[in-house]
């Protein structure tokens, strides 16, 4: 046996980095990891639609399945392992208490279509988290059903459109800062609006003069993130809200960065009409490798009549679910069933664990941690804007000028140092952006290690150590992957290899 060319070991594995083939490459026909009884003999009633031919699923035993997914898990970085400094993602610790609560009998195994009297505890829980969200935001109404942040954006903008339709108003222009996340303009278009971008000023905030110039009686809404995607609080937000309302428009607030202000500022006091909240960001529900999330939306009095179905109400007899629209004003249903109940349970456990006092402490620590990083790195890297920040610190790539090292290269070198990279190239208004959000659950030791590593990398780049960056990552389970080839000739599933006789021809 010859050693593998890449790993210099015989197996191709290296230490605890174990290669793992696809499940389809481990198939033994007839093998099964579940013991199911023989089905009783019945006369089938499948109407001649019984499946013919094999499906093609592979057969493995339980030990193989457990080993397969265990090995796959070992190729992932995670919050449980180390700092995950992705800006605007709020990668905070995911408490395991939340997982236990979501699985409680009576909640985890509650069917959404239970008769109402058999689901009073579930409705009570939804009502309870609704109360927390309304109190924390200072808003009178909330829609719990959206399944993710972008879905919540859709909910907010659909309610605005419904309100406009209801008063016969045909305005369609929506103002969106150029620094906004791409979901904002995509959402506006999905609701039949047109998008008009507003530039940022030199300080990284919405250019107030430009906003006033663009404002008109054909402006349906503004979509503002606050704190914004540069990690800064929009100082002029109340002025903007007042001007917008006077012109007859609505204020949609993207709540992705709520972690900076939760428990300290109520967005309702800033003049917003609706705001989506990412339970998987601010309220610790796990990111799960890309989902599921939850994106409830709080609403002002003006928009409350239009909220989507279904929603929970309380009367003398207890809790009820309103699934069919009595008033005719709801804009309709956004999702099957009632919303991401599993995430409500987790988020409520998190809220109750922190309490009002803990949440205010958490947001303060989040802002403190980000500023500590900004202050510690401002001499070795280039902050994009002057002054302090909120919960995330934004740098541009000026400090890399002339080194031949790009923001992307820095990110890949961080992987070799044992970190997941920060958010890169977002927001678009900053060149080569590096956006760092530590969250409040990082210790000072963790921040100091991170700062030391970033300083060392910045200095290495300026000292001309280009190979460290161009070759990176060298030590991760895979090195840089060819994304061009993946996009030019997409291979999106496994296919069985061609039979040997065909290959021989």
């Amino acid at each position: 046996m010859k050693p593998d060319a890449v790993t210099d070991t015989f197996t191709g594995d290296r230490g605890l980095q174990l290669e793992e083939p696809l499940i389809f490459e481990q198939d033994a026909p007839g093998r099964c990891a579940v013991d199911l009884p023989e089905p009783p003999k019945v006369a089938p009633r499948l109407g001649k639609l019984a499946r013919r031919g094999p499906i093609g699923l592979p057969g493995l035993s339980e030990p193989q399945v457990v080993r397969h997914y265990t090995r796959l898990s070992q190729k992932n970085y995670a919050i449980d392992m180390g700092i995950y400094p992705l800006g605007s993602c709020t990668m905070k610790h995911n408490p395991r208490l939340n997982e236990r609560m979501a699985r409680l009998p009576g909640l985890g195994d509650a069917h959404p279509l239970l008769p109402e009297r058999a689901a009073q505890g579930a409705f009570e829980l939804m009502d309870r988290i609704a109360h927390w969200l309304k109190t924390l935001t200072g808003m009178p109404a909330v829609a719990l059903s959206p399944g993710a942040g972008a879905h919540g954006e859709l909910c907010g903008m659909m309610a605005i459109r419904a309100a406009l339709d209801d008063r016969g108003d045909t305005r369609r222009r929506v103002l969106v800062p150029q620094s906004a996340h791409g979901t904002n303009p995509a959402t506006a278009v999905a609701c039949g609006f047109t998008v008009d971008p507003i530039p940022a000023d030199a300080g990284g905030r919405v250019d107030l003069a430009a906003f006033r110039e663009k404002l008109g009686t054909d402006v349906a809404a503004i979509m503002l993130t606050n704190p914004n995607t540069c990690g800064l609080f929009e100082r002029d937000i109340v002025t903007i809200a007042d001007a917008l309302h006077e012109a007859g428009g609505y204020f949609y607030c993207d709540g992705a960065n709520f972690n900076a202000i939760v428990g300290r500022v109520r967005p309702g006091d800033l003049g917003i009409d609706c705001m989506h909240i990412n339970l998987h960001k601010t309220f610790s529900t796990p990111h799960g490798g890309g989902g599921p999330g939850a994106g409830p939306v709080v609403f002002s009095e003006a928009l409350a009549p239009y909220i989507p179905l279904p929603y929970v109400v309380r009367d003398a007899n207890g809790f009820r679910l309103v699934e069919h629209d009595g008033t005719g004003k709801s804009f309709g249903r956004l999702k099957g069933f009632h919303g991401q109940m599993g995430m409500f349970i987790r988020a409520l456990a998190y809220m109750m664990s922190h309490g009002g006092d803990g949440l205010a402490q958490a947001s303060g620590d989040a802002v403190l941690n980000a500023n500590y990083i900004l202050a510690s790195l401002k001499n070795d890297m280039t902050p994009a804007f002057p002054g302090t920040c909120m919960h995330e610190a934004l740098f541009d790539d000026e400090f890399l000028k002339g080194t031949g090292v790009s923001t992307l290269d820095v990110a890949k070198a961080m992987i070799d140092e044992g970190f997941h990279p920060m958010t890169m190239y977002f927001p678009l208004i900053v060149h080569g952006a590096l956006l760092i959000e530590p969250t409040e659950t990082e210790s000072k030791d963790s921040l100091d290690r991170f700062v030391a590593a970033m300083q060392a990398l910045a200095r290495a780049a300026r000292a001309g150590d280009a190979a460290r960056f161009s070759e990176a990552p060298r030590f991760s389970p895979r090195r840089r992957l060819d994304e061009t080839a993946a996009a030019r000739h997409p291979v999106l599933r496994w296919k069985p290899p061609a039979p040997a006789s065909e290959a021989a021809e």
Partner: protein
Amino acid sequence: MRYLPLTDTDRRAMLARIGVPSIDALYEDVPATARLKKKLDLPDHLGELEVERAIGGMAAKNIGAAGVPFFIGGGAYRHHVPASVDYLIQRGEFLTSYTPYQPEVTQGTLQYLFEFQTQVALLTGMEVANASMYDGATSAAEAVMMAMRITRRNRAIVSGGLHPHYLAVARTHARFLGFELDAGAADPEGRETLAAKIDENTACVIVQYPSVFGQLADLRALAEACHEKGALLVVAVTEIVSLGALESPGAMGADIVVAEGQSIGNALSFGGPYLGLFAAREKFVRQMPGRLVGETLDADGRRGWVLTLSTREQHIRREKATSNICTNSGLCALAFTIHLTLLGEEGYRRLAALNHAAAVRLADRLCAVTGVTPLNQSFFNEFTLRLPKPAAEIVDRLAERRILAGVPASRFWPDDPALANLLIVAATETNTDADFEAFGAALAECLR
């Protein structure tokens, strides 16, 4: 507070480096009127025990599906999930990881999603599948919109057998995007003829298989009728286990298949989080919403995976994105793929056979009750009964006896008196003969 690592000593040292006197000083951009002066009307922090008591108290007020005779379906189903699934999905490297935008350190997520995409394509009989969506209902709406993009037409025909939540979500999008939905009346007996409605303005026909009433229909003729007029056939599947026993929609000519994946690997959880499956013909892949994982090589020539065809998505195309969807159902997709891997070919087919056999035995037992008539000639694990009285009150009375008897059609169609006496019931591998007997006996008593 157990989740906050900073000590007051830490905070002082950090404030000194930053050069501000207090954390409050970092909030100076907040307008004074908006800075909270007093505490919010919320309770203070609690330890784990107190949180468990509070939430446990709410859980105790519901009738969970475990340990009672249980027959509710209607788009979400009680199945047995093997013990390994829940342990594996709670590994921190899966639970607390992010979207795999840095593929070098997220090959675990990318590989399981690639395997998931393959499994979904195999089950549905289609060529390509995405890495999942929020749920079946939103997937169905996205499929209709995708059909409109492909055909450049703006009218869809909707079967009277489609789950009302799926129709309602599509209606919401239709209202804001200005397209037309031609939705037939509810079709409990499976008698509708959709082919006659298809014309040159039709982007697609969308049907559910099995229907919300459990009816089965061969879709081949409908697929041909669509294709003759340049329209697409969209098929929605709410019970993914059915594809272990039934011909796949792909084999019958479907162009896009969407499904609710909850039945495999995922708890009922009062309606969410669930799992949208989305599959289509390869030629349509650039019009597909959602994330896609593709295979490639790394700098050492080793096989690996990446998110690909991202330029369809909102974070790049912005206003011109195929949809505004940002997220997939990650952990739910992982639960699905682990459970399906445990089942394999043999297990999945046997699971489906057990489900069908249970439903057949249930049907026999219930139809022996005087006054109860079945509407279905054929079904998989769910079917519809006509009772001599309104079904909703029967369901409530049976719930008082802790028998969860199914979904009264009036729950979905409260304003249609013709449907008031219809009850939709489901049976799975988790039901026993004792369950069927308890249901039959109690139903007979209630109908006396």
